[in-house]
Structures are given as C-alpha cells and as structure tokens.
C-alpha cells in the first residue's frame, strides 16, 4: 500500500500544477474578462492549498480577500473599462517577442536559483512556534495566529489597518469617477442581498468571536462585512447624505483609532506601548477586533464602490 502514502503528494502536485497553469492562463489570456475569472479561480485553488498546508486562517483570508474582494475589485474595474477594452489586441498589449524571450530566460535562470535556495531551506525548523506556544497563556487569546496578529505583532496589524485606510484615501483622492450607477438592481439579487446582508453581520461577528481560539478574525470578518456592504449597495441601498460625511469617516477610521488609542492608553497604566495589562488582553483584543472589523468592512465596501461619497 505504499502508493497510498503517495496519494497526498500526488494531490499536492496536481494542486501545484493547477496553480501554475491558472496563473499562466490568467496572465496570458487574450480576453481580460477571462483573465480575471481565471485569477479568481487561482485564488480559490490557493485557498485549497492553504487548507492543505494547515493554514485555515490564510485559506479564509485568501478566499475572502485574495479571491473575493480582489476579484470583485477587478471585475468592477473591468466593468468600468468596458466596452472598449473587451476586445484587446494581444500583440499590442505585450512587449515584443525580442524582449519577451530574454526576459523569460533571465527569469528562468533567477528562479532556478531561488528554487535551489528554497530546496536548501528544506531543513525542519520550528521557527518561532515554540516561543509562541510558550507565551500563549499571556496573550489573552488561545489561538496562536490571532495571538501573533493582535498581541505579539500587534504593531504590524495596527499599521496594516492604516494601509487599508490609506488605500481608501488614495482611491478617494483619485476618484473623478461618479458613484456606481443608480439603476434599479435585479430583483432577485436585491432579494438575496436583503437576505444575506444581515446574515453576514452575524457571520462577521462569529468570525471575530471564533478568532480567539480557532481560525478567523477581524480581517476575514471585515471582508464578510464588506461583502455585505457591497451587496446592500448593489441592491439599491444608498447612504443618506448626512451619513456620508463625518459619521462614515468615523466608521472608516474606527479600527485604527481604537487600536491606537488602546495601544497608547496602556502606557498610562505603566505598560509598554501596545502591551495590554494582565487579564485585560482578551477584552482589549476583542474590542480592537470589533472596531477593526467594522472599519475593514466599511473600507472594503467603499473601495469596491470606488467613487467618493
């Protein structure tokens, strides 16, 4: 039954090749729409790969953000490019073959090197997991990834929230584009949205909650919430004018602001920056995650909609 032990490896090989094939097709397909769809498919397969690698968090994030939000953004952008861009002249859109060939050869050489290095790295090493395990008790949450994300390396996460906000500010600063069209949505879609949006709120809350001891967390939850916002938008909801001003902006900055505020406030209690006092880690983390979820959802929805309010 030796072949049975090889079965997982075979599956992995197939997955890996699928990844590469999808990536290749996504990058070279002459039709942009097809390219985007293939890219989304790539994201989904990547999700599977992450599951195979026991990285359920990343799988969730990959599907929600990598494939979902990115895919939605790409499709929305594509829709705004249509119809002129649907038929693209492949030859004009690529560098001349005389350039392509050396680039390809160079890349193959470089990547062979990189591949060899990766091969070299194939020495089992625990990384920091032992250290994380050793101090997980102090982290306030039982799930290592969340502990790293919101406590051990919370500073990164704070800035990551800032990156999202920054992207939105950037998009708004650029946007001459009007709002998404105000045409009446498909009734079926609208109905589904009305059904799904409230459920998504619950799912998002659940993801935040579950993140404390299992895969999940603010970013996955935020993307679910963002999707809810997008759906509501598609089903014809509009923010009233009074809400698109500072109330909306407040929601957008809430994540960073709460995170920063808590991170700074602890200094007043004799703690180091972003160092939660004993016993307060879990409530602090949950509060931060909730605020972050809200902001991430709002930011993602706003990014999708594109035009500034």
């Amino acid at each position: 039954m030796a072949w049975l032990s090889l079965l997982p490896l075979a599956i992995d090989l197939v997955l890996a090749l699928t990844l590469l094939w999808l990536a290749w097709r996504a990058l070279t397909s002459p039709d942009l729409f097809r390219a985007v769809v293939l890219f989304i498919a790539l994201g989904l397969v990547l999700g599977l790969v992450w599951v195979r690698l026991d990285a359920v968090d990343i799988a969730l994030a990959e599907i929600a953000l990598g494939a979902g939000v990115t895919g939605a953004l790409l499709l929305a952008a594509l829709a705004k490019l249509q119809p002129a861009e649907s038929q693209t002249d492949e030859v004009a859109m690529m560098a001349p073959i005389a350039l392509r060939l050396p680039i390809a050869l160079l890349l193959i050489a470089l990547l062979t090197g990189l591949g060899l290095v990766v091969w070299q790295l194939w020495v089992p090493a625990p990384g920091l997991s032992n250290l994380v395990d050793a101090r997980l008790d102090e982290a306030g949450v039982a799930y290592p990834v969340t502990a790293v994300l919101l406590n051990f390396r919370g500073y990164d996460t704070l800035l990551e929230l800032a990156v999202l906000l920054l992207a939105l500010i950037g998009v708004w600063s650029l946007s001459t584009a009007p709002h998404l069209g105000d045409e009446e949505p498909e009734p079926a879609l609208a109905a589904l949205s009305r059904l799904l949006a409230p459920l998504m709120i619950l799912v998002a809350a659940y993801l935040v909650w579950v993140g404390a001891y299992a895969p999940g967390g603010a970013f996955q939850a935020g993307s679910v919430l963002g999707a809810a916002g997008v759906l509501l938008r598609l089903s014809g909801w509009r923010l009233s004018l009074s809400a698109t001003g500072w109330p909306l902006r407040l929601v957008l900055v809430l994540g960073v602001a709460v995170f920063a505020f808590i991170g700074l406030a602890v200094i007043g209690f004799g703690q180091p920056l972003l160092g939660y006092p004993q016993g307060w880690a879990k409530p602090a983390i949950l509060t931060i995650e909730l605020a972050a979820t809200l902001s991430i959802g709002a930011i993602l929805a706003a990014l999708f909609i594109g035009g500034r309010p």
Partner: protein, 103 residues
Amino acid sequence: MNSVLVFALAGVGLIGLGLYGLLVQRHLLRKVLAFNVISSGIFLLLAGLARRAPGAEPDPVPQAMVLTGIVVAVAATALALAMMLALRSATGRTRLKDHGDED
C-alpha cells in the same frame, strides 16, 4: 520531497510567472494581476515553509505575516485599479506611456 516543498516551489513558480507578466504585459489590469500573482507566490513561500517541522503545528508567525500581506496586497490592488481608471479617464489609455516626460 513532500507537499510543503511542492508548494514552496510552486510559490517560486508563481513569482516567476508574475514577474514575467509584470514585465511583458502592457495592460495595467494585467500588471495588477501579475503583481497579485507575485504576491501569492511570496506568501506561499513564506507561510508554506512554516509547516516544515514534521507533525507539529505550523509556525503561526509567518501565517500572521501572510495575513498582513494579503490585506496589504488587497489595498494596493484597490489603489492601483483606481489609479488605472483615473488614468484611463484622463488619457483614454490603459497602459503606461513609454516615455513619460511630456504628455
């Protein structure tokens, strides 16, 4: 040879394909796609190798890093797409001008 190595090498492959796309393709949307493919490749390398220790839980630190990375990539994609649309509405082009000195 095992699955971790397979995926790490696949990550290298993705980086390569993405780089090729980024350099060769001219349409900005494709360049954005290519950037995302590169990122995915790097993430695969970063978090894939986190499971090297046999039988143990995967190292959570690279996983957290990849989560951060994914969010950053989404943000960058959003900004890049918005910029592409703005460029298109200003110039009608969806590719970069080769010699950007004068417009």
